[in-house]
Assembly symmetry: C2
Amino acid sequence: MIFILENDIYGFEKNYRRNLINSISGFKSLNLIGTKNEKGSENLALFSQVIHIGAMPPLIGVLFRPNAMNSKRHTLNNIEKTGYYTLNHVNSKIYQQAHQTSAKYPEGISEFECCNLTPEYILDFYAPFVKESHIKIGLEFVEKYIININQTELVIGKIKHIIITNENAIEEDGQVKLELSDSLTVCGLNSYYTAELIEKMPYAKV
Amino acid sequence: MIFILENDIYGFEKNYRRNLINSISGFKSLNLIGTKNEKGSENLALFSQVIHIGAMPPLIGVLFRPNAMNSKRHTLNNIEKTGYYTLNHVNSKIYQQAHQTSAKYPEGISEFECCNLTPEYILDFYAPFVKESHIKIGLEFVEKYIININQTELVIGKIKHIIITNENAIEEDGQVKLELSDSLTVCGLNSYYTAELIEKMPYAKV
Protein backbone atom coordinates (compact mmCIF):
# COMPACT_ATOMS: atom_id res chain seq x y z
CA MET A 1 0.00 0.00 0.00
CA ILE A 2 1.38 3.41 -1.02
CA PHE A 3 0.27 6.54 0.88
CA ILE A 4 1.16 9.92 -0.62
CA LEU A 5 0.30 13.10 1.29
CA GLU A 6 -0.04 16.62 -0.08
CA ASN A 7 3.35 17.63 1.28
CA ASP A 8 5.00 14.59 -0.32
CA ILE A 9 3.63 15.79 -3.67
CA TYR A 10 5.22 19.25 -3.22
CA GLY A 11 8.53 17.55 -2.41
CA PHE A 12 8.66 15.36 -5.53
CA GLU A 13 10.97 16.20 -8.44
CA LYS A 14 8.99 18.24 -11.00
CA ASN A 15 8.68 15.64 -13.77
CA TYR A 16 7.86 12.87 -11.27
CA ARG A 17 5.07 15.03 -9.84
CA ARG A 18 3.76 15.94 -13.30
CA ASN A 19 3.62 12.29 -14.36
CA LEU A 20 1.97 11.17 -11.13
CA ILE A 21 -0.74 13.84 -11.06
CA ASN A 22 -1.41 13.62 -14.81
CA SER A 23 -2.10 9.90 -14.50
CA ILE A 24 -3.80 9.61 -11.11
CA SER A 25 -7.31 10.73 -12.17
CA GLY A 26 -7.64 7.85 -14.65
CA PHE A 27 -7.88 7.23 -18.38
CA LYS A 28 -8.43 10.21 -20.67
CA SER A 29 -9.72 10.83 -24.18
CA LEU A 30 -7.19 11.51 -26.89
CA ASN A 31 -7.82 14.08 -29.58
CA LEU A 32 -5.86 16.09 -32.10
CA ILE A 33 -7.08 19.69 -32.28
CA GLY A 34 -6.90 21.24 -35.73
CA THR A 35 -6.93 25.01 -36.23
CA LYS A 36 -6.03 27.58 -38.88
CA ASN A 37 -4.96 31.16 -38.26
CA GLU A 38 -6.34 34.21 -40.09
CA LYS A 39 -3.52 34.00 -42.65
CA GLY A 40 -4.31 30.37 -43.48
CA SER A 41 -1.49 28.61 -41.57
CA GLU A 42 -2.67 25.28 -40.18
CA ASN A 43 -1.88 23.98 -36.72
CA LEU A 44 -2.35 20.58 -35.09
CA ALA A 45 -1.86 19.69 -31.42
CA LEU A 46 -2.55 16.70 -29.15
CA PHE A 47 -4.89 17.15 -26.16
CA SER A 48 -6.08 14.80 -23.43
CA GLN A 49 -7.72 17.37 -21.14
CA VAL A 50 -11.13 17.29 -22.82
CA ILE A 51 -14.46 17.08 -20.98
CA HIS A 52 -18.08 16.55 -21.98
CA ILE A 53 -19.93 19.69 -20.83
CA GLY A 54 -23.49 19.06 -21.99
CA ALA A 55 -25.72 17.52 -24.64
CA MET A 56 -28.28 20.33 -25.23
CA PRO A 57 -26.75 22.47 -26.57
CA PRO A 58 -23.95 20.00 -27.44
CA LEU A 59 -20.80 21.28 -25.69
CA ILE A 60 -17.22 20.12 -25.14
CA GLY A 61 -14.55 21.71 -22.93
CA VAL A 62 -10.77 21.72 -23.44
CA LEU A 63 -8.31 22.83 -20.75
CA PHE A 64 -5.28 24.85 -21.86
CA ARG A 65 -2.12 25.58 -19.90
CA PRO A 66 -1.59 29.02 -18.34
CA ASN A 67 -0.56 31.80 -20.65
CA ALA A 68 2.69 32.57 -18.84
CA MET A 69 3.93 28.97 -18.73
CA ASN A 70 3.31 28.15 -22.32
CA SER A 71 5.15 29.73 -25.18
CA LYS A 72 3.28 27.61 -27.74
CA ARG A 73 -0.29 28.82 -27.76
CA HIS A 74 -1.06 28.60 -31.45
CA THR A 75 -4.09 26.40 -30.88
CA LEU A 76 -5.74 28.69 -28.34
CA ASN A 77 -4.83 31.84 -30.27
CA ASN A 78 -6.35 30.42 -33.44
CA ILE A 79 -9.53 29.33 -31.62
CA GLU A 80 -10.04 32.75 -30.08
CA LYS A 81 -9.25 34.69 -33.25
CA THR A 82 -11.11 32.57 -35.82
CA GLY A 83 -13.80 30.97 -33.63
CA TYR A 84 -13.40 27.46 -35.05
CA TYR A 85 -11.49 24.26 -34.27
CA THR A 86 -11.75 20.52 -34.76
CA LEU A 87 -11.34 17.54 -32.43
CA ASN A 88 -10.12 14.38 -34.14
CA HIS A 89 -9.92 11.05 -32.30
CA VAL A 90 -6.50 9.42 -32.30
CA ASN A 91 -6.46 5.78 -33.45
CA SER A 92 -3.87 3.00 -33.42
CA LYS A 93 -2.62 3.85 -36.94
CA ILE A 94 -1.71 7.46 -36.10
CA TYR A 95 -0.86 7.66 -32.39
CA GLN A 96 2.88 7.92 -33.04
CA GLN A 97 2.36 10.81 -35.45
CA ALA A 98 -0.14 12.37 -33.03
CA HIS A 99 2.42 12.14 -30.23
CA GLN A 100 5.03 13.79 -32.44
CA THR A 101 2.83 16.91 -32.80
CA SER A 102 3.77 17.71 -29.18
CA ALA A 103 7.39 18.43 -30.17
CA LYS A 104 8.27 22.13 -30.12
CA TYR A 105 8.15 23.02 -33.80
CA PRO A 106 9.09 26.60 -34.63
CA GLU A 107 6.50 29.25 -35.50
CA GLY A 108 5.09 28.92 -39.01
CA ILE A 109 5.71 25.16 -39.30
CA SER A 110 2.58 23.01 -39.74
CA GLU A 111 2.44 19.91 -37.57
CA PHE A 112 0.28 18.32 -40.28
CA GLU A 113 3.27 18.38 -42.59
CA CYS A 114 5.97 17.52 -40.06
CA CYS A 115 3.99 14.61 -38.63
CA ASN A 116 2.65 13.25 -41.90
CA LEU A 117 -1.03 13.81 -41.20
CA THR A 118 -3.43 15.15 -43.82
CA PRO A 119 -5.53 18.31 -43.37
CA GLU A 120 -9.04 17.78 -44.68
CA TYR A 121 -11.70 20.45 -45.27
CA ILE A 122 -15.29 19.29 -44.88
CA LEU A 123 -18.57 21.13 -45.50
CA ASP A 124 -16.88 24.56 -45.72
CA PHE A 125 -15.80 24.38 -42.06
CA TYR A 126 -12.99 26.91 -41.44
CA ALA A 127 -10.68 24.67 -39.39
CA PRO A 128 -8.94 21.59 -40.81
CA PHE A 129 -9.96 18.07 -39.79
CA VAL A 130 -7.49 15.16 -39.74
CA LYS A 131 -8.19 12.87 -42.69
CA GLU A 132 -6.72 9.80 -40.95
CA SER A 133 -9.03 10.12 -37.93
CA HIS A 134 -12.30 8.14 -37.88
CA ILE A 135 -14.29 10.40 -35.52
CA LYS A 136 -14.09 14.15 -36.15
CA ILE A 137 -15.92 17.01 -34.47
CA GLY A 138 -16.16 20.60 -35.71
CA LEU A 139 -16.52 23.11 -32.87
CA GLU A 140 -17.38 26.79 -32.54
CA PHE A 141 -15.85 28.77 -29.66
CA VAL A 142 -18.45 29.79 -27.05
CA GLU A 143 -16.74 30.99 -23.89
CA LYS A 144 -13.56 30.73 -21.82
CA TYR A 145 -12.93 30.54 -18.07
CA ILE A 146 -9.56 31.29 -16.49
CA ILE A 147 -9.17 29.04 -13.44
CA ASN A 148 -8.18 31.27 -10.55
CA ILE A 149 -5.93 28.89 -8.63
CA ASN A 150 -3.53 27.99 -11.46
CA GLN A 151 -4.45 30.22 -14.43
CA THR A 152 -5.30 27.31 -16.74
CA GLU A 153 -7.95 28.21 -19.30
CA LEU A 154 -11.11 26.18 -19.93
CA VAL A 155 -12.39 26.71 -23.47
CA ILE A 156 -15.97 25.68 -24.18
CA GLY A 157 -17.14 24.99 -27.71
CA LYS A 158 -20.42 24.05 -29.34
CA ILE A 159 -20.54 21.07 -31.70
CA LYS A 160 -21.29 22.14 -35.29
CA HIS A 161 -20.39 18.95 -37.16
CA ILE A 162 -19.80 15.31 -36.32
CA ILE A 163 -18.18 13.03 -38.90
CA ILE A 164 -17.91 9.29 -38.27
CA THR A 165 -16.31 7.23 -41.00
CA ASN A 166 -17.66 3.82 -39.92
CA GLU A 167 -21.42 3.77 -40.42
CA ASN A 168 -21.79 0.92 -37.90
CA ALA A 169 -20.15 2.92 -35.12
CA ILE A 170 -23.41 4.50 -33.88
CA GLU A 171 -25.70 2.20 -31.93
CA GLU A 172 -29.51 2.34 -32.10
CA ASP A 173 -29.64 4.36 -28.88
CA GLY A 174 -27.22 6.99 -30.22
CA GLN A 175 -24.13 5.79 -28.39
CA VAL A 176 -20.88 5.69 -30.35
CA LYS A 177 -19.01 2.38 -30.21
CA LEU A 178 -15.58 3.94 -29.91
CA GLU A 179 -13.77 0.64 -30.53
CA LEU A 180 -15.31 0.45 -34.01
CA SER A 181 -13.51 3.71 -34.80
CA ASP A 182 -10.29 2.37 -33.22
CA SER A 183 -10.29 5.32 -30.78
CA LEU A 184 -7.51 5.15 -28.18
CA THR A 185 -7.30 6.28 -24.58
CA VAL A 186 -4.26 7.73 -22.79
CA CYS A 187 -2.78 7.62 -19.31
CA GLY A 188 -0.69 10.61 -18.28
CA LEU A 189 1.12 12.33 -21.13
CA ASN A 190 2.46 9.47 -23.19
CA SER A 191 1.04 5.98 -22.49
CA TYR A 192 -1.37 4.96 -25.23
CA TYR A 193 -4.00 2.24 -24.74
CA THR A 194 -6.66 0.39 -26.71
CA ALA A 195 -9.92 -0.33 -24.90
CA GLU A 196 -12.05 -3.47 -24.88
CA LEU A 197 -15.73 -3.53 -23.91
CA ILE A 198 -16.59 -5.51 -20.78
CA GLU A 199 -20.28 -4.70 -20.56
CA LYS A 200 -22.88 -2.13 -21.50
CA MET A 201 -25.14 -1.85 -18.48
CA PRO A 202 -28.88 -1.06 -18.54
CA TYR A 203 -30.23 2.10 -16.87
CA ALA A 204 -29.83 1.62 -13.09
CA LYS A 205 -33.06 1.30 -11.08
CA VAL A 206 -33.61 1.04 -7.34
CA MET B 1 -19.52 8.00 -43.72
CA ILE B 2 -21.96 9.64 -41.29
CA PHE B 3 -22.35 13.43 -41.27
CA ILE B 4 -24.28 14.98 -38.39
CA LEU B 5 -24.90 18.73 -38.38
CA GLU B 6 -25.77 20.95 -35.41
CA ASN B 7 -29.43 21.12 -36.44
CA ASP B 8 -29.61 17.33 -36.74
CA ILE B 9 -28.46 17.13 -33.12
CA TYR B 10 -31.27 19.45 -31.97
CA GLY B 11 -33.77 17.26 -33.83
CA PHE B 12 -32.71 13.97 -32.25
CA GLU B 13 -34.82 12.31 -29.56
CA LYS B 14 -33.54 13.38 -26.14
CA ASN B 15 -31.97 10.09 -25.01
CA TYR B 16 -30.43 9.48 -28.43
CA ARG B 17 -28.83 12.93 -28.31
CA ARG B 18 -27.62 12.43 -24.75
CA ASN B 19 -25.98 9.10 -25.62
CA LEU B 20 -24.38 10.46 -28.80
CA ILE B 21 -22.92 13.61 -27.25
CA ASN B 22 -21.82 11.84 -24.05
CA SER B 23 -19.81 9.35 -26.09
CA ILE B 24 -18.50 11.45 -28.97
CA SER B 25 -15.60 13.12 -27.14
CA GLY B 26 -13.92 9.77 -26.39
CA PHE B 27 -13.07 7.53 -23.46
CA LYS B 28 -13.46 8.94 -19.95
CA SER B 29 -12.13 8.18 -16.48
CA LEU B 30 -14.44 6.39 -14.07
CA ASN B 31 -14.56 7.33 -10.40
CA LEU B 32 -16.85 6.90 -7.43
CA ILE B 33 -17.07 10.09 -5.38
CA GLY B 34 -17.46 9.52 -1.64
CA THR B 35 -18.81 12.24 0.65
CA LYS B 36 -20.34 12.59 4.11
CA ASN B 37 -22.75 15.30 5.25
CA GLU B 38 -22.44 17.28 8.50
CA LYS B 39 -24.67 14.77 10.29
CA GLY B 40 -22.48 11.83 9.28
CA SER B 41 -24.62 10.33 6.47
CA GLU B 42 -22.43 8.86 3.76
CA ASN B 43 -23.02 9.26 0.03
CA LEU B 44 -21.46 7.60 -3.01
CA ALA B 45 -21.96 8.52 -6.67
CA LEU B 46 -20.44 7.59 -10.02
CA PHE B 47 -18.78 10.30 -12.15
CA SER B 48 -17.08 10.27 -15.53
CA GLN B 49 -16.78 14.02 -16.07
CA VAL B 50 -13.45 14.42 -14.30
CA ILE B 51 -10.49 16.44 -15.64
CA HIS B 52 -6.85 16.92 -14.64
CA ILE B 53 -6.47 20.64 -13.88
CA GLY B 54 -2.85 20.93 -12.83
CA ALA B 55 0.08 19.25 -11.06
CA MET B 56 1.43 22.12 -8.91
CA PRO B 57 -0.65 22.55 -6.85
CA PRO B 58 -2.21 19.14 -7.61
CA LEU B 59 -5.76 19.81 -8.83
CA ILE B 60 -8.66 17.81 -10.26
CA GLY B 61 -11.96 19.12 -11.66
CA VAL B 62 -15.38 17.44 -11.61
CA LEU B 63 -18.35 18.71 -13.65
CA PHE B 64 -21.81 18.59 -12.00
CA ARG B 65 -25.19 18.93 -13.66
CA PRO B 66 -27.14 22.18 -13.37
CA ASN B 67 -28.90 22.81 -10.10
CA ALA B 68 -32.38 23.07 -11.61
CA MET B 69 -32.14 19.86 -13.63
CA ASN B 70 -30.90 17.65 -10.87
CA SER B 71 -32.88 16.78 -7.82
CA LYS B 72 -30.09 14.59 -6.45
CA ARG B 73 -27.28 16.88 -5.47
CA HIS B 74 -26.09 15.17 -2.31
CA THR B 75 -22.53 14.88 -3.58
CA LEU B 76 -22.15 18.57 -4.46
CA ASN B 77 -23.97 19.73 -1.32
CA ASN B 78 -21.69 17.63 0.86
CA ILE B 79 -18.57 18.87 -0.91
CA GLU B 80 -19.55 22.51 -0.49
CA LYS B 81 -20.67 22.16 3.12
CA THR B 82 -17.89 19.94 4.48
CA GLY B 83 -15.04 20.80 2.09
CA TYR B 84 -13.92 17.19 1.53
CA TYR B 85 -14.55 14.36 -0.93
CA THR B 86 -12.83 11.29 -2.34
CA LEU B 87 -12.31 9.95 -5.86
CA ASN B 88 -12.06 6.16 -6.08
CA HIS B 89 -11.19 4.40 -9.34
CA VAL B 90 -13.70 1.82 -10.51
CA ASN B 91 -12.25 -1.60 -11.32
CA SER B 92 -13.57 -4.74 -13.00
CA LYS B 93 -14.65 -6.29 -9.67
CA ILE B 94 -16.96 -3.42 -8.71
CA TYR B 95 -18.21 -1.74 -11.89
CA GLN B 96 -21.68 -3.28 -11.60
CA GLN B 97 -22.03 -2.01 -8.03
CA ALA B 98 -20.59 1.34 -9.08
CA HIS B 99 -23.16 1.58 -11.88
CA GLN B 100 -25.95 0.79 -9.43
CA THR B 101 -25.08 3.89 -7.34
CA SER B 102 -26.62 5.95 -10.17
CA ALA B 103 -30.12 4.63 -9.34
CA LYS B 104 -32.34 7.22 -7.64
CA TYR B 105 -32.18 6.12 -4.01
CA PRO B 106 -34.31 8.16 -1.61
CA GLU B 107 -32.84 10.78 0.72
CA GLY B 108 -31.06 9.32 3.73
CA ILE B 109 -30.17 6.01 2.06
CA SER B 110 -26.43 5.31 1.71
CA GLU B 111 -25.35 4.01 -1.69
CA PHE B 112 -22.48 2.26 0.08
CA GLU B 113 -25.00 0.01 1.79
CA CYS B 114 -27.44 -0.44 -1.11
CA CYS B 115 -24.66 -1.23 -3.57
CA ASN B 116 -22.56 -3.40 -1.29
CA LEU B 117 -19.45 -1.23 -1.23
CA THR B 118 -17.48 -0.55 1.94
CA PRO B 119 -16.80 2.93 3.34
CA GLU B 120 -13.24 3.21 4.56
CA TYR B 121 -11.75 6.01 6.68
CA ILE B 122 -8.05 6.67 6.15
CA LEU B 123 -5.68 9.04 7.96
CA ASP B 124 -8.51 10.95 9.66
CA PHE B 125 -9.81 12.22 6.31
CA TYR B 126 -13.42 13.43 6.72
CA ALA B 127 -14.92 11.83 3.62
CA PRO B 128 -15.19 8.06 3.10
CA PHE B 129 -13.03 6.19 0.59
CA VAL B 130 -14.19 3.00 -1.15
CA LYS B 131 -12.37 0.03 0.35
CA GLU B 132 -12.73 -2.08 -2.83
CA SER B 133 -11.05 0.56 -5.04
CA HIS B 134 -7.31 0.27 -5.72
CA ILE B 135 -6.59 3.96 -6.42
CA LYS B 136 -8.12 6.51 -4.04
CA ILE B 137 -7.69 10.27 -3.88
CA GLY B 138 -8.71 12.56 -1.01
CA LEU B 139 -9.63 16.06 -2.18
CA GLU B 140 -10.28 19.42 -0.55
CA PHE B 141 -12.74 21.82 -2.22
CA VAL B 142 -11.01 24.88 -3.69
CA GLU B 143 -13.38 26.74 -6.01
CA LYS B 144 -16.41 26.36 -8.26
CA TYR B 145 -17.32 27.81 -11.64
CA ILE B 146 -20.86 27.90 -13.00
CA ILE B 147 -20.68 27.50 -16.77
CA ASN B 148 -22.75 30.30 -18.27
CA ILE B 149 -24.12 28.54 -21.35
CA ASN B 150 -25.68 25.52 -19.59
CA GLN B 151 -25.37 26.15 -15.85
CA THR B 152 -23.26 23.06 -15.20
CA GLU B 153 -20.88 23.49 -12.27
CA LEU B 154 -17.15 22.81 -12.39
CA VAL B 155 -15.79 21.95 -8.94
CA ILE B 156 -12.04 22.15 -8.46
CA GLY B 157 -10.33 20.32 -5.63
CA LYS B 158 -6.79 20.01 -4.35
CA ILE B 159 -5.29 16.57 -3.77
CA LYS B 160 -4.64 15.90 -0.06
CA HIS B 161 -4.05 12.14 -0.13
CA ILE B 162 -3.30 9.49 -2.71
CA ILE B 163 -3.64 5.83 -1.80
CA ILE B 164 -2.54 3.11 -4.23
CA THR B 165 -2.95 -0.47 -3.05
CA ASN B 166 -0.52 -2.07 -5.53
CA GLU B 167 3.02 -0.94 -4.74
CA ASN B 168 4.17 -1.78 -8.26
CA ALA B 169 1.62 0.53 -9.86
CA ILE B 170 3.87 3.62 -9.80
CA GLU B 171 6.66 3.67 -12.38
CA GLU B 172 10.11 5.12 -11.76
CA ASP B 173 9.13 8.36 -13.51
CA GLY B 174 6.04 8.84 -11.31
CA GLN B 175 3.47 7.63 -13.81
CA VAL B 176 0.73 5.34 -12.51
CA LYS B 177 0.24 2.13 -14.48
CA LEU B 178 -3.54 2.18 -14.34
CA GLU B 179 -3.87 -1.40 -15.63
CA LEU B 180 -2.02 -2.69 -12.54
CA SER B 181 -4.83 -1.22 -10.44
CA ASP B 182 -7.44 -2.70 -12.80
CA SER B 183 -8.83 0.80 -13.45
CA LEU B 184 -11.58 0.91 -16.07
CA THR B 185 -12.59 3.50 -18.65
CA VAL B 186 -16.12 4.36 -19.79
CA CYS B 187 -17.82 5.44 -23.01
CA GLY B 188 -20.99 7.49 -22.62
CA LEU B 189 -22.98 6.73 -19.50
CA ASN B 190 -22.93 2.98 -19.29
CA SER B 191 -20.37 1.14 -21.47
CA TYR B 192 -17.47 -0.10 -19.35
CA TYR B 193 -14.08 -1.00 -20.85
CA THR B 194 -10.72 -2.41 -19.79
CA ALA B 195 -7.64 -0.84 -21.36
CA GLU B 196 -4.50 -2.45 -22.70
CA LEU B 197 -1.19 -0.62 -23.17
CA ILE B 198 0.03 -0.30 -26.76
CA GLU B 199 3.08 1.85 -26.15
CA LYS B 200 4.59 4.37 -23.81
CA MET B 201 6.25 6.95 -26.03
CA PRO B 202 9.39 8.95 -25.20
CA TYR B 203 9.25 12.75 -24.92
CA ALA B 204 8.67 14.09 -28.45
CA LYS B 205 11.54 16.07 -30.02
CA VAL B 206 11.74 17.95 -33.30
